[in-house]
């Protein structure tokens, strides 16, 4: 809790009457003060000094007092200066900043329901997937261990978004973020699609963008569930993916919404060689990732939303054997390709709301 009057503008922070201390111990003590104020994610941060904030904004030709508007649930004002302070703390380089802004902008879209994602008891966190030339330019990892540690861009961008969600949106754990558990992706959850080694067209081209545009897609997701499959038969492979998807504990079986399947490059290659295109994969999974009404009645969430007709109209709810697909349409199963070599793919259950894709703009508005 902060009971002091904070400076509001970056100008106010640059009071020339004080001299910047130079000792390492002073910097450590300042860091401890930020941690004690609850402004960090628990890990050490870089100090968001006014000069560092200026260095984040100036190459991007952004003014500190302009911004993205307000972030829920407390509707804090996301000025560029404030978002930049969070990006500095997270370890971002200035060239990462447009990705952070695009992700937050995408999350402000109604279809994502940022208010709900911030406050729910569910485990959900926004997964950021980056497409286009910006990945190579700023070093976003889309290959081996792309959802693990090790790449500064992945780590710092994901972390900056989370810090802004808490420090500006106000979703403080246990207070307005009511997550029963949360998951490790709430520290940082960002990767690139491996377009270079993908057998399918880049994901963002399925969302109305050109391959040469750079985008970030925000998806309200659980932690990834691995699918280890060494089969050379595409039906067996996709059957295993579908089996992993259709389970009683995920939200989607009851509220539909959207889910994400990230195929490893080897799995995608196998499917491509068998003649499967992305839409065939989506159709197969929509056909096979289903549970019977009778099983769903015993699943503990039955009755919540079934009355709102979130299942497809054609499911006969009176028939215990009638099969309910995990989402309403094949297109609600997002299929991307990422990672390195190995017989693995990922299933990422959703929360119930929709993914949103936004273009990454640099230079005060030009495309990245």
């Amino acid at each position: 809790m902060v009971d002091t009057q904070l400076p509001v503008t970056v100008d106010e922070c640059e009071d020339e009457s004080c001299a910047l201390p130079s000792s390492y111990d002073d910097a450590e003590a300042a860091h401890e003060a930020l941690a004690a104020a609850g402004w960090t994610d628990g890990l050490p941060v870089r100090l968001p000094t006014a000069p560092a904030v200026r260095r984040m904004l100036e190459p991007n030709r952004l003014e500190p007092e302009d911004g993205l508007g307000r972030l829920p649930p407390v509707w804090g004002e996301a000025t560029y200066g404030r978002v930049a302070a969070n990006a500095v703390m997270a370890g971002c380089l200035p060239e990462y900043f447009p990705v952070v802004l695009a992700a937050l902008r995408a999350m402000q879209d109604e279809r994502f329901n940022m208010h709900g994602v911030q406050c729910t008891t569910h485990v959900v966190a926004p997964l950021l997937m980056v497409n286009g030339p910006v990945r190579a330019r700023i070093g976003i990892n889309s290959g081996h261990n792309c959802l693990g540690q090790g790449a500064r861009a992945n780590a710092a961008i994901g972390r900056a978004v989370r810090l802004a969600m808490v420090n500006i949106g106000g979703a403080t754990p246990g207070s307005l973020d009511k997550a029963t558990f949360g998951h490790p992706g709430k520290f940082a959850y960002c990767f690139g699609e491996n377009e270079e080694e993908s057998a399918f067209p880049p994901f963002h081209t399925t969302r109305g963008y050109r391959a040469e545009q750079s985008t970030v897609t925000v998806f309200p997701g659980e932690a990834p569930h691995n699918i280890n499959n060494h089969s050379s038969d595409p039906m067996e492979l996709l059957g295993a993916v579908a089996s992993t998807m259709a389970t009683l504990g995920n939200n989607n079986m009851y509220v539909s919404g959207e889910v994400m399947v990230v195929l490893g490059i080897d799995h995608a290659k196998l499917l491509d060689e068998a003649g499967f295109q992305r839409h065939n994969v989506q159709e197969f999974l929509h056909e096979r990732a289903r549970l019977p009404v009778g099983a769903l009645r015993t699943g503990g969430m039955y009755g919540h939303d079934v009355g709102r007709n979130l299942w497809p109209k054609w499911v006969d709810r009176r028939d215990s054997a009638a099969l309910v697909p995990i989402v309403r349409r094949p297109g609600d199963i997002h299929v991307a390709v990422a990672g390195g070599v190995g017989p693995h793919s990922l299933f990422i259950p959703g929360w119930g709301t929709r993914a949103v894709t936004a273009e990454i703009m640099t230079d005060g508005g030009a495309a990245a």
């Binding site: 809790m1 902060v2 002091t4 904070l6 400076p7 509001v8 970056v10 922070c13 640059e14 009071d15 004080c18 910047l20 201390p21 002073d26 910097a27 003590a29 300042a30 401890e32 003060a33 930020l34 004690a36 104020a37 402004w39 100090l47 968001p48 000094t49 006014a50 000069p51 904030v53 500190p64 829920p72 407390v74 509707w75 804090g76 004002e77 996301a78 200066g81 404030r82 930049a84 302070a85 969070n86 500095v88 703390m89 329901n113 208010h115 709900g116 729910t120 810090l163 802004a164 808490v166 420090n167 500006i168 949106g169 106000g170 403080t172 009755g303 919540h304 119930g352 709301t353």
Partner: protein, 100 residues
């Protein structure tokens, strides 16, 4: 080091919107419900309406509330729309509940 000293000495740009740390207070409670109009807000999760209807009955019978009326949020995962909130402002008190 105190936070204000860190901010001053290192020229730190606060990463927060001050409203994040503002103390949010609960609405003032009426001391007596006699004759008051009480709104009941159902978040639309399972059984919230059952719980609220039962509480509403109790408030009328045991505490003399003048009347109660039940409202529903359209979708439990989204905030109440403005028109619903302005409708609830006409009541002397509102009780909400999460079902499950």
């Amino acid at each position: 080091m105190r936070l204000e000293d860190a901010i001053r000495d290192f020229q730190l740009v606060p990463p927060i919107d001050p409203r994040v740390t503002e103390q949010r207070r609960m609405a003032e409670r009426p001391t007596d419900l006699a004759g008051l109009r009480v709104g009941l807000l159902d978040n639309r999760k399972a059984n919230a309406n059952v719980l609220l209807t039962s509480i509403g009955g109790g408030l009328e019978e045991r505490y003399g509330a003048g009347s109660t009326a039940l409202f529903e949020k359209p979708v439990f995962s989204r905030p109440s729309p403005e028109h619903l909130l302005s409708e609830l402002e006409r009541f002397d008190a509102v009780v909400t509940a999460l079902g499950d």
